[in-house]
């Protein structure tokens, strides 16, 4: 697949910049707040001062006896999201499918885009480095499968969410319109990605190899029988899919969707905070 590598670097670079600008801008908003021990006059009040102090607290925590507790909490609250599991298994499934689906899908897309941008003329040769051979093409089983599974997870989560919404008596307990719209946007991106995959497989990959990307493979067969010509479609779908995905991801820190990034961070930090407070109170 021949793509303009400069355009890929530009799209990726701009998206990463917008995302991290938003991320740190958000953090800079938090740092306007008071500190718990605000009466301590020795502490610097500037936002930068606070930022480095919190960074210090974080690393002090990591390199302390609390390390095991931090790892446990990171796993249980940041990855498994145990509170949600305890509350409702159905909601947990929807959430885990969408959250981890999107996370893996985004990460794999970034790695895929970088690998393609690094590939001269878009040709992945056997002599290329392992990174390009793994992530540079959908012919690689690992990349094809992970991309496909993550997309199925997203669509599955969205489907269960729709069913739940129709059966939910109290609609107020459903997620907000903004979150529903996020579900729709992500699903549209996933569909474009499937079309990219399908057209790619139809154009480049022999049948036997396509088995690791079942979604794209089935779609490619359907489109093949419809008699669609594949000459430019993989490139077109690829650009639509990555531009939409990167636009969506870079908007995350700026609006309601910021909980997708900050929810887990706050859950872990609050859990560790209350555990430490309980320990202190028991000691007192």
């Amino acid at each position: 697949m021949e793509l303009n590598t400069i355009s890929l670097w530009v799209i990726l670079g701009v998206s990463v910049f917008i995302f991290f600008f938003g991320f740190f801008y958000r953090i800079s908003i938090w740092l306007r707040g008071e500190e718990e021990n605000k009466d301590d006059k020795s502490l610097k009040k500037s936002r930068l001062g606070k930022f480095f102090r919190y960074l210090g607290v974080f690393f002090k925590g990591i390199f302390s006896r609390r390390f095991a507790g931090i790892v446990r909490s990171f796993f249980m609250d940041g990855i498994v999201h145990r509170n949600l599991f305890k509350d409702s298994i159905l909601k947990w499934f929807i959430h885990i499918f969408m959250f981890w689906g999107l996370s893996v899908f985004t990460l794999m897309t970034i790695l895929h885009v970088i690998a393609i941008a690094l590939t001269p003329n878009g040709a992945v040769l056997d002599s290329a480095g392992w990174y390009i051979r793994v992530f540079g093409t959908l012919e690689n089983n690992f990349t094809a499968m992970l991309l496909d599974l993550s997309k199925f997870a997203i669509l599955g989560g969205a489907f269960i969410a729709i069913l739940r919404f129709f059966f939910l008596k109290k609609k107020l307990k459903s997620v907000e319109l903004k979150d529903k719209s996020a579900g729709v946007i992500i699903s549209i991106i996933v569909v474009f990605s499937f079309f990219y995959e399908a057209s790619f497989l139809a154009k480049f990959v022999p049948l036997g190899k396509a088995v690791f990307a079942p979604g794209g493979f089935i779609l490619s067969r359907i489109l093949f029988y419809l008699g669609i010509k594949w000459i430019f479609l993989p490139e077109l779908f690829f650009y639509i899919y990555i531009v939409l995905l990167f636009l969506f991801v870079s908007y995350i820190p700026y609006g309601k969707y910021s909980h997708m990034v900050f929810g887990s961070i706050v859950a872990v930090s609050n859990k560790l905070g209350s555990e430490q407070k309980n320990k202190k109170e028991t000691k007192d």
Partner: protein
């Protein structure tokens, strides 16, 4: 609700952690079914979910680059009034945080929000009256603080010092409602009789006892609250007491947790217990003998004693130690206990809402088919009593200490 309005909200008074929590809230709506104020009013605009949404909007309107570029930069007066109404139509029961997936400390958030609204002059005017009363007379009633021990008159064999001693082993911090509300005078009287029966060396602070400051703190007047906290700690330290006991859960929570967390520059040199913990201790030591009572009893967990202070077992153990008493749990108990409607100064701000919440509690009690509903809070006793009366129920609401007194004196209710 008449609300004072002036300048913008000082959002930077939220802590760094709270501003992060506002961003992190997924607004999943888990808190909706738990919010006493929402259940009592069916008004979603005062629910925790909507409050978080409004706060996010307020923070975004002030700081978010997208809002500043493309949307309106300031919240309208209507938005601000809605935030104020939602903030003060809250019982501060903290039930909303029980099931939060990301462990947001919502009660702390609501307290800080009230503080910010007070700072910005956006709060119900009636709270000004309460503040003035507290600052002038150091209690929540309309009386002067000299009347703090008027309830003591009915105590049999009252000593000349009226239990006001310079040095003592245990200080009983009575609290404003018990001291000034005749309807619940029975509670401190029972406690004194129980302590006497167990030969405990105890004393009262008399008019040196000031309000614990909870009404000020929960209304957002944090600066005034600090003076009250300092005064009380100083006075109890002077008595050389080993224990401070309180019968009011809010006083207990203030003493046990809030005073300690605020770093006031003065340390409490005594152990802080709720009366129930102290009575449980002396019953276990064999200093009190509980006699049989043939009753079916349920127990309501006061928010500040249960959810906010984790005291769940002692009251249940004590009830079950009374021979003949059959204990029945309420449908919503322990961490999930519903509010009685008397918390968070809501009675002053929105009486109807307070009554609605109490009504829900009363119906839950009636379902159990008990003879008596006990609790450990004079405010809960008051609101539940009124609500049960409205429901034409014969169930009596009383403090657990009253039941203990009946048991040790062998009387039959």
């Amino acid at each position: 609700m008449s609300v004072k309005m002036s300048n913008e909200m000082k959002l930077d008074k939220f802590t760094v952690k709270q501003l992060a929590e506002i961003d992190a809230c997924t607004r999943c709506g888990n808190c909706l079914d738990l919010c006493s104020a929402y259940i009592g009013s069916s008004d979603v605009s005062i629910s925790p979910k909507k409050k978080m949404e409004k706060l996010k909007k307020a923070v975004d309107a002030r700081y978010n680059i997208f809002y500043r570029l493309f949307r309106k930069k300031k919240l309208s007066e209507k938005d601000l009034e809605a935030i104020s109404k939602a903030a003060f139509d809250c019982t501060m029961c903290s039930r909303c945080e029980v099931n939060c997936h990301i462990n947001i400390k919502l009660k702390d958030m609501w307290l800080k929000l009230r503080e910010i609204l007070v700072d910005s002059g956006k709060y119900p005017e009636i709270l000004d009256m309460m503040r003035t009363r507290l600052i002038n007379s150091h209690n929540v009633s309309f009386d002067t603080n000299e009347g703090r021990t008027n309830w003591i008159q009915q105590i049999p064999d009252l000593p000349e010092n009226r239990y006001i001693k310079e040095k003592t082993d245990v200080i009983y911090f009575v609290g404003c409602v018990s001291s000034f509300s005749p309807r619940v005078f029975k509670i401190p009287r029972s406690i004194i009789q129980i302590l006497n029966a167990a030969n405990v060396d105890f004393g009262l602070l008399g008019d040196e006892e000031w309000c614990c400051g909870f009404p000020l703190l929960s209304s957002g007047f944090k600066e005034d609250f600090i003076d009250f906290a300092k005064h009380n700690i100083e006075k109890v330290n002077k008595t050389g007491a080993r224990y401070l006991i309180t019968s009011c859960p809010s006083c207990y929570h203030m003493w046990k947790h809030t005073y300690a967390e605020l770093k006031l520059g003065i340390k409490a040199e005594f152990e802080i217990l709720h009366v129930v913990q102290y009575i449980y201790k002396i019953v276990k030591e064999g200093k009190l003998i509980l006699k049989p009572l043939d009753l079916k009893v349920t127990y309501h967990d006061p928010c500040d004693l249960g959810r906010n202070s984790d005291v769940y077992d002692e009251p249940r153990n004590l009830i079950e130690m009374i021979p003949g008493v059959k204990f029945v749990e309420l449908e919503n108990n322990r961490k999930l206990a519903t509010c009685c409607g008397g918390g968070g100064n809501i009675e002053a701000v929105d009486k109807q809402l307070s009554e609605n919440i109490a009504q829900i509690k009363a119906r839950e009690i009636i379902k159990t088919g008990v003879d008596i509903a006990v609790t450990l809070c004079q405010q809960c006793v008051r609101t539940i009593q009124q609500a049960l009366k409205k429901e034409n129920s014969k169930i009596k609401a009383m403090d657990l200490t009253e039941l203990i007194l009946e048991s040790i004196s062998g009387a039959q209710i």
